[in-house]
Symmetry: C2
Subunit: 400 residues, 2 copies
């Protein structure tokens, strides 16, 4: 394990700002942004950049707010990880093309290898991948679960076969099917009711229109950490609906009875009990946040400042973003920068501001093409899902 | 060095297809795509994926054609490297924000730190970075220089300050300036005339409109291998015009007298002598190639095949791509897939074809928005620059 850490550190050193320190023998974990008491990256994700990641647990790794760049795409080695179960054995990547996925709830059900999928179509989609609980760390009632702030999200390019092409090749969806249900290939713990632990989620069958069975992520075969060799990608839906190691894709009349669907990821009143009648966490809501300047950068030099961040609208494109430097009293339209990768990707925004010495509260508020804007207040819920409050995501900075 | 290789190998193993082999102790250099006699990656680029790279020399690393994915962006750890001089000491990355660049040939010349540049504007541009000699390996007269085939190119997202914003902030370009001249910060060998070795190039001053001084590449601070902490980005122009470690940007009445400009990168007749009167290698030409299927994949299974590749037009967007399976006798329009990242990026194309057993010659031919199409024949020249022949880039595959 120590060898693993040092290899990552070396990689980071050579690419990063601390190269010369390291060359001069001055590197230390703290200087690498890797606090002495920080948890190490788990083995399956030890190729991530340690200084860019907050390790909450072996199954929950967060991107630091300060690590987000301005290049639209989040690199693989900075992207967050959230696993509901430990990842399968790396053995499943031995022969990627031999991976089998079952297609059911279509006129002609089939089992297909990844090699066969690759002959059936090709699409590439840029999409924000965001954990349902991103922003949970801002809820004052301290919900159980990982206290993510902004870093359980990234903008990723996926390549794979369109689900609609698969469905078409297999005679279409069976009459009466209302849901698209994906089943993950994680090994289930012995001695438990499988439905109590299996990662199986249902989304509206309509979501198949833009969904992929993807084998590539940001130009590389999907890693074990991110669901390789094959992952269901449902653009605009929160992370849990994008099933890793997918082994079955079925069009079903009913939602799965798996507990992760019936009780997990439901918008439940604080103090209440979760259950299938409560709203399920599915499509993402309009959201944005500022990535620079940040309080951890220390006092900002007075004068021109480029305030920048990211904005995304779930299943709707972002129409505009406003930025406030006074905690939301006044707002100014920011401008978009960089390429538009489609409605499921995030847009970068920037506001050039001339700031005099003083204290500022920086906030951003995005609006999507359906007219929805970020609210000031989060929607309170037991588990801390779907936080898109602009106030919660605002930051206080000093200008000197 | 061996430790360096093993850390990369480990990283590749965990992300790649051979994970299980490695876990079972079966990994070998050849299985990692790293032939026993292959040269190791040089230290400044030892974080690249060894199995995805052909090491021609310490200064010339090529992406394998089989390594290109279908996610539009070329990841940093797969991207080619071509240095005209060895990179500067890594010390220059110790304090990136302290890097100084001189701006000259404007009304108010200045020296600016990278920290100051970051306050002056922000733009993000996706661009094909391609070595002038990419495709040299197809010239039958075997020009001196690296025999690149397709792998001295990648599509990269850059972030930095627009040069036009800098120019505006410094009173505009001086009257009479026709060129934008960038100077690299490489350490020059002692005892030689600096002009004979310095990396200094001039492009038309108009190119400043979309040029950047960039500090970020694909979401991460620019590595030493790729010109960090600061690189001049001139979208649509070949790699050599995108000056690494830039220390001076000047608007000049004349082209630089540096040898790399006056004699290097000139389209010279075979057997002739290079010189400033010959055409300089600047804007890229319309070009495309197929990345799959490839001969090295072995015999392809008869039936539906997804023939895919990339196409780009230099300073013009790609309008369309045709694909031939019979060596150019007949052509079929391919379709674009994936996001359009702007006119300087490449587009992915795909043609779905039903192939019966037999031998095929796969070719692609792109057309740009100015009406230019790839020619069948390369333009012969001494140093093997600007090869965009569709025939040279065609491949022969077997279907069984």
């Amino acid at each position: 394990m120590s060898n693993t850490i040092s290899s990552n550190a070396r990689r980071h050193v050579l690419k990063g700002t601390v190269a010369a320190m390291a060359m001069a023998g001055l590197a230390s974990w703290t200087k690498l942004g890797f606090a002495a008491d920080a948890k190490p990256l788990p083995g399956y994700a030890d190729w991530k950049i340690p200084g860019d990641i907050i390790v909450h647990s072996n199954n929950t790794l967060e991107t630091k707010r300060s690590a987000y760049g301005t290049s639209v795409i989040t690199p693989n080695d900075q992207l967050f990880v959230r696993n509901n179960l430990p990842p399968p054995d790396a053995e499943i990547l031995k022969d990627r093309d031999a991976w089998v996925v079952e297609i059911d709830g279509v006129a002609k059900p089939a089992k297909l290898t990844l090699a066969e999928l690759k002959t059936m179509g090709l699409e590439t989609t840029a999409m924000v991948l965001q954990c349902s609980g991103n922003g949970r760390g801002f809820f004052p009632h301290k919900p159980s679960g990982t206290p993510w702030k902004v870093g359980a999200a990234g903008c990723v390019v996926w390549s794979g076969v369109p689900v609609r092409a698969l469905v078409q090749a297999h005679g279409g969806v069976k009459a009466g099917a209302k849901y698209m249900t994906g089943t993950g290939g994680e090994k289930l713990p012995d001695g438990l009711d499988p439905l109590s632990v299996i990662v199986e989620r249902s989304v509206s069958a309509d979501a198949m229109e833009d969904a992929l069975l993807a084998w590539e992520m940001n130009g590389e075969p999907i890693s074990l950490a991110h669901g390789g060799p094959l992952r269901l990608i449902v653009p605009g839906f929160t992370g849990v609906n994008n099933i890793k190691y997918i082994k079955r894709l079925a069009f079903t009349e009913q939602e799965t009875k798996a507990k992760i669907m019936s009780h997990g990821y439901r918008i439940t009143p604080i103090g209440g009990t979760s259950g299938p009648d409560l709203p399920s966490v599915q499509q993402m809501s309009i959201k944005s946040w500022i990535n620079a300047p940040l309080p951890e950068d220390g006092a900002i030099k007075a004068g021109r400042v480029q305030i920048h961040g990211v904005a995304f609208g779930g299943t709707h494109a972002v129409k505009g973003v406003e930025v406030s430097t006074d905690g939301g009293k006044t707002w100014t339209a920011a401008k978009f920068v960089g390429p538009d990768l489609g409605k499921y990707a995030w847009r970068q925004f920037v506001l050039e501001a001339d700031l005099k010495p003083g204290e500022y509260q920086l906030a951003s508020r995005a609006t999507d093409t359906s007219g929805e804007s970020q609210p000031e207040a989060r929607v309170e819920n037991k588990s801390g899902y779907n936080n898109n409050s602009w106030l919660d995501h605002s930051i206080k900075v000093s200008v000197a």
